[in-house]
Subunit: 218 residues, 2 copies
Amino acid sequence: MSLVRMDLNISLDGIAATADQTPDNPFGEDWGRLVEAYTQTRTFREQVLHDTSGAGTAGLDDDYARGYFDGIGAEIMGAGKFGLHAHPDDPDWRGWWGEEPPFHTPVFVLTHTPRPPLEMQGGTTFTFLEASPPEALALAREAAGDRDVRIGGGPTMAREYLRAGLVDVLHVGITPIILDKGIRLWDELRGLDRDYEVSSEASSSGVVHVTFTRARSA
Amino acid sequence: MSLVRMDLNISLDGIAATADQTPDNPFGEDWGRLVEAYTQTRTFREQVLHDTSGAGTAGLDDDYARGYFDGIGAEIMGAGKFGLHAHPDDPDWRGWWGEEPPFHTPVFVLTHTPRPPLEMQGGTTFTFLEASPPEALALAREAAGDRDVRIGGGPTMAREYLRAGLVDVLHVGITPIILDKGIRLWDELRGLDRDYEVSSEASSSGVVHVTFTRARSA
């Protein structure tokens, strides 16, 4: 049976969505620091930047980056990850993932203001819908077939899925920086660890990879 | 020159002081879970429980536990770590560290209600004083000679020392549990990492050890 998976980058103080975006720097400096080790991996360069030169880091961070892209059959993401919040009034806005986004699967974008679907190059289709977490998950499971479903974030949506007990595997890459502003992942998730096996690995980059794996019911 | 060091156990969501204490369980269940890997080490059993049987875990958690006790010449702690808050009206209360506390050095307890000093077995002396962080540090440095000074916590005091730039080495043992209530270490410490080298190691217990080491001025 396919798994519901989630991969997020957080700071040491648990910030998963940064808050220093400006018109000139739509991702913000904090975001750059938060995902620095990930964006330096060979896999990120290949999959997101379409850089086939072989540049980028290998090693543990790259192993997790490769795992992020492996075996996913559909994704659910919040409107912010697609980029709707940045361009709410532009019906022609096609997101900030380029014409060939790195998903290569159906992607369900949760929004209160649905718009027509977008078919991108490389197999990514964006479908915009207003739905509860379980409703969206049912659609994504059907689209994914026997492959896994990724809950793509941001953290507010991620927390809804975690609180509802809908996530089988949660991987967080913890970057050892302290941001103290933004949206924290762990709020109102007291005791989450009790439903999971938890394991940790440290990368030479300083990033710590913590994986929560839920015991499957029989 | 001696260093100012701090070692704290925190949860994945940064909680360093737990909040589920009861009269029947003065440390609380959360505290037990937070420090479980540490209290299972051979060093903790020897140094705190006076168990010389050799029981307890070896390995990375024990290496950090041994580092915690090595080379300290004086400690500064908050009233809560001594136990004053639990027995505010008992002038004969001698703290919850037993008659032979594991410090074996002068200990300066910061409190708004000073009381006479206590001389314990094994070289620990408790001195109670109302002082600013730099004032207390000057006293502790003098008492420590060429050995290191430990800032013992709790987290409110720890944050004051960190914000004031007075800590040379901060080690946090991060236990992969989510508590979501208690006092968080990282609040208002945005950018702390910029003043330090940061390294990470993961233990088979699941605990992640992150060490901030400040570049020394020449």
